[in-house]
């Protein structure tokens, strides 16, 4: 009966000491420093790991303590809401958040507002109408324009194919603002070109293994696809594997989104054509910088846009520099 007790205590003690180690040698100064929270969608995606690095760099430079929390799974809004509720209890000064759901997270942000915790929205916009209805207003939005990124990818596709292609699209999770915007941008960019035919468009839910399976199925149904647009690089990388498995490497152009390190390597190796680069490191940095401005009572612009870039074989070395 008593055996569970030491177990629980040990686990907690271990967890606490590990988390204190992470905070480093400044633990006695930590009490005096204002705490800025950064709540991410997940930490098992390089995009958010980069964002965290950028945020940490800014926090160290500006003398604030950064608390990073994330749900285990990217789509788990309820868990993200719990994290926000719990962080409010600890008296964080500013809450920076990448919402897992543009509308669903509003209930949590209402609680932040009622506790007088200012909110900075990063990467994924709140649904404007629902936010207005709920009376939630972020201090600022930091992110890149996903619609513009989609258009960038679409225009690139038109250029490299000479305006004639049979396109398969790997979508993100349906109903997500990010996924919808990227796809709308891409579709709008190719819509004016009569030679650009979208022959299939299926969700692969942002995941690499699903990208593989879905694209493999797509190739079965449409063996003549010559161009793929994936709304994220993980899905694109999955598709590249499927293309290799079908022995069609080099015959199908793959355009992704996010310019992950793996994707850049694939672009250098020639298995991938291009990827739209966002700069999550810059987003994380801007989020903490903005949080400090909020603490100091400075005003912020409504939007802080972070640049986008098309990474191709010609530019990939340069882009790697830029994201550091």
């Amino acid at each position: 009966m008593m055996r569970i007790l030491p177990g629980l205590v040990c686990l907690l003690a271990a967890a606490t000491s590990l988390s204190c180690n992470r905070a480093g040698g400044d633990s006695n100064a930590a009490t005096a420093r204002p705490v800025v929270a950064l709540v991410l969608k997940t930490l098992n995606h390089p995009f958010f790991v980069d964002m965290r690095r950028g945020a940490q760099e800014a926090a160290d430079r500006l003398g604030v303590t950064l608390q990073v929390q994330a749900a285990e799974r990217e789509v788990d809004v309820e868990k993200q809401m719990q994290i926000v509720e719990n962080l409010i209890q600890t008296g964080v000064r500013v809450l920076c958040i990448t919402p897992s759901g543009s509308r669903e997270i509003l209930s949590a942000l209402v609680k932040a507002k009622n506790a007088n915790v200012p909110v900075i929205v990063v990467d994924t916009r709140l649904d404007a109408k629902a936010a207005a209805d709920a009376g939630v207003r972020g201090e600022t939005f930091i992110g890149s324009d996903n619609y513009e990124g989609g258009r960038l990818a679409g225009r690139h596709a038109v250029t490299v194919t000479g305006g004639k292609a049979r396109i398969g699209i790997l979508e993100g999770i349906a109903g997500h603002e990010t996924a919808d915007s990227r796809l709308r941008g891409f579709r709008d960019a190719v819509a004016g070109e009569p030679g650009m035919a979208i022959v299939a468009s299926q969700p692969a839910n942002w995941e690499r293994d699903q990208g593989f399976n879905v694209f493999q199925n797509m190739l079965q149904a449409h063996p003549n696809i010559d161009t793929v647009f994936a709304a994220s690089d993980l899905m694109a990388l999955g598709a590249i594997e499927a293309i290799a498995a079908a022995g069609k490497t080099g015959k199908i152009r793959v355009i992704g989104f996010d310019a992950l390190d793996d994707a850049k390597r694939a672009i250098d190796a020639g298995t991938m054509d291009a990827s739209v680069a966002q700069f999550p490191y810059e987003m994380g940095k801007a989020a903490v910088e903005s949080a400090v401005k909020v603490i100091n009572g400075e005003s912020l612009p409504a939007d802080i846009m972070v640049k986008l870039e098309m990474v191709t074989k010609a530019t990939s070395g340069k882009a790697t520099e830029g994201s550091r």
Binding site: A15, V77, N86, L87, G91, E104
Partner: protein, 307 residues
């Protein structure tokens, strides 16, 4: 068995004491209510799961039934029906899915693992199909009160959780149905031979699980102001964990609802405490997993015959 229940409760109390010593934010009224509110959804799903596990079964479909009944609710409300109509409809959807599980397990003589694994996929697919994968968002304040209202200082989800547990505890301990749940889990053949109408009670047990999943979906939908077809993923594992930490035997026939509630609270307190302490989310998963395995270890050790 009594000692074990006691052990789980002591585990919860010690966990709370440790957190109280580690962070000043833990033991405040607002944080404790916060934990109770966050625990309510898992606790309610776990109540139904306890019925199933007590009967010697398992229900892997609860998370998908949460999603399906949630989107049925969302679509009904958006179609203009009042909550007085939409809530019975969504509860019916949950009960129906659960009863289907039970019928297939009983009449089809199929393993619960397989049937509910199938339902997990079917209900999820149905939820995605009828919503075209999109969340249904934005409901009337009158409906949202189910998650946002407070009676005195107690949040509505906590009251709903308390009601579910009182009713379920009564059913399990004071009705023949409740006794049969234990009897079927203890020894199904013996129960059948002594005249328990398995064909009636098995589907009913899984229907209870569908019912509690629907009630959880009701709170979840009101809480997020949105019904998501992807909601409830992995809820089955949280519910099984709460039940098992609470001392219910996966072999069936042994366990209590009070234990399950304490199990759900241990998980809720752990998650909350680890958030308050700023423990990395990766480490949180390790700690929670460790607690689950530790609790079952205790369970097994206690059940070993003494020499």
């Amino acid at each position: 068995m009594k000692a074990r229940r006691f052990g789980t409760l002591i585990g919860l109390v010690v966990l709370c004491l440790v957190l109280w010593a580690l962070t000043p934010f833990f033991l405040t009224v607002s944080n404790l209510l916060n934990i109770a509110e966050q625990t309510s959804i898992n606790a309610i799903v776990a109540a139904g799961m306890t019925f199933v596990i007590l009967s010697g079964g398992i229900d892997l479909s609860v998370g998908s039934i949460v999603a399906l009944s949630g989107v049925v609710l969302g679509l009904s409300l958006h179609a203009g029906y009042s909550p007085a109509v939409a809530l019975p409809v969504m509860i019916a959807a949950g009960v129906l899915a659960g009863a289907t599980n039970g019928l297939l397990i009983d009449r089809g003589r199929l393993p619960p693992f397989i049937v509910t694994l199938g339902m997990m996929s079917i209900a999820r697919g149905a939820a995605l199909l009828i919503t075209e994968g999109r969340p249904i968002s934005g409901f009337e304040e009158s409906f949202r009160a189910l998650a946002t209202a407070r009676v005195g200082f107690v949040p509505a989800p906590v009251l709903i959780m308390a009601t579910v547990y009182l009713v379920a505890h009564f059913v399990l301990t004071r009705t023949t149905f409740g006794r049969y749940v234990y009897a079927i889990g203890g020894n199904e053949d013996a129960a059948r031979l002594s005249g328990v109408r398995i064909h009636l009670h098995k589907p009913a047990i899984y229907a209870v699980s569908g019912l509690t999943s629907a009630l959880a979906a009701m709170i979840l939908t009101a809480r997020l102001n949105s019904a998501q077809p992807i909601a409830g993923t992995m809820y089955e594992l949280d519910a099984i964990a709460a039940t098992v930490i609470g001392g219910t035997s996966l072999m069936g026939g042994e366990g209590t609802l009070a234990g399950t509630l304490i199990g759900a609270l241990i998980m809720g307190v752990l998650r909350n405490g680890l958030n308050l302490l700023g423990v990395s989310s990766f480490l949180q998963q390790i700690v929670i997993g460790g607690v689950i395995v530790g609790a079952v270890l205790v369970d097994t050790v206690l059940k070993r015959p003494r020499t």
